[in-house]
Symmetry: C2
Subunit: 244 residues, 2 copies
DNA sequence: CGTAAAATTGAGCTGTCTCAATCAATGTGG
DNA sequence: CCACATTGATTGAGACAGCTCAATTTTACG
């Protein structure tokens, strides 16, 4: 079972940390967690790293430290008694697992690592104090909460209303857009470490069916997947498939 | 298209308003919007009423006034270009359409009335000032945000992982639980004004199929629907159907 | 090089959808 | 107060998207 997680004390140790390039990051930086506030005492923090496919946080784990994903991809999942899983959201570098964490005292859903990943875990009380005492930060957090809500709504619409092809195309395009904001898309190509079972769990489909749809998209020359990354060969076509 | 809405100026005029019996209501009351704070200036507010099946708020309508549903049921919906609709949430008396409204400047999704309904619309700036300046209120709002998120996650899991019967059973049980908190369930019977198309749009199913499933549940003696209300005849059985 | 995990492919099945018709309930205007 | 119109519920028959089970190939990795 091994929620094998290695805590490295108070040394963050984010390797090629992309925190700086994200929206949240701006909130944290502007709030003075980083260089912008070198003289003030930094918020106490610890680090957590995990290999791929591990449980980083369990359901009901206390949220006295609020994690921000530094490196790697993670996912918030919910499991059902009938054995099925639903991926509620993918967490990209520089993101909170959910903004609800800022208002909660424990994780409501397990968080798993898609790739090897590392988090910074900020002392909850101190983080909230910094974030909520600055009007500018509150505004940015509000915007981020709204963005998270919109993403969740979009996923809901996808799974509720779209065909298998549409759901998968939407997922790819959604990830593309999010990574684009972070400058992690080059020439319509970006990291794509998801297993087909992950896609299945996120879209409410079967791994076998995901495979067939991806094969179809590949055969039609819309996408190319290799080496844990994807290239969109025909954005227009993919967007029109996403409508369905 | 008639987003036919009648604004009644600054007189609330909630008939048999159940605002007091809800969780949010407590926030508002405790924050001094009502009797608890009779001497201070009340937050300026207006009222909006709508017949059933109308658009109460359109996408992109400004959120300079934040609505709280006083009477009736409403729903937040998203429509797709392919003609399908997804109901993102049902709004019960005493609830915000979404807590994201507190951080946003306009409605992101249309809100429609399921039954004839009425809202109080609080001046956004004043409401936020009252809510965010009181530590106790912030705590309660945080709890409500978490609860809303959990409900959205649960819906996501339902639509992503469950059979048609499971989704419908979950929907019924979810509404029951929410109404129970407000003391609106008597003897396992409660108001249930949803059309079968509403259930279909909320569960990602077809109205025809919803009809067949409801018929099955009725024939098996689990539920009884009549007169816009429902009675759960066998809670245990319904809960076990909900697992699927 | 060997083993395990992931991807791929095939064949058959079924839950849900589509199309279409009928019936019941609820207004609505004359 | 009735004839009619409209909306919602119900039922049937057939189609198909996506699922299940199972085998095979490819990839990743120690």
């Amino acid at each position: 079972m091994s929620s094998v997680v290695r805590s490295t004390g108070t040394k963050p140790g984010c390797g090629n940390c992309v925190l700086r390039s994200s929206g949240i990051c701006q909130v944290l930086i502007d709030s003075g967690l980083e260089a912008a506030r070198p003289t003030a005492a930094p918020i106490r923090q610890s680090a957590v790293t995990a290999n791929s496919g591990r449980t980083i946080f369990r359901r009901h784990d206390p949220l006295d430290r609020i994690p921000v994903l530094c490196d790697g991809w993670a996912a918030v999942v919910a499991s059902l008694s009938n054995g099925r899983r639903q991926i509620l959201s993918f967490v990209l570098p520089g993101e909170f697992t959910s903004y609800a964490a800022l208002f909660d005292d424990r994780h409501r859903q397990p968080v798993i690592s898609i790739t090897a990943s590392s988090c910074r875990c900020f002392q909850a009380a101190e983080l909230k104090h910094v974030l909520f005492s600055d009007a500018g930060a509150i505004g940015r957090i509000g915007a981020a909460i709204v963005a998270e809500k919109q993403r969740a709504d979009r996923l809901m619409v996808d799974v509720g209303c779209r065909s298998a092809t549409g759901r998968i195309a939407c997922l790819i395009l959604d990830l593309r857009d999010r990574l684009m904001e972070r400058n992690l898309v080059q020439d319509e190509s970006f990291e794509f470490p998801l297993r087909q079972t992950d896609i299945a769990d996120a879209t409410g489909l079967t791994p076998v069916h995901v495979n067939r749809v991806l094969g179809e998209l590949r055969r039609e020359g819309l996408i190319q997947i290799a080496d844990r990354s994807i290239r969109i060969l025909s954005l227009d076509s993919l967007q029109s498939m996403a409508e369905q």
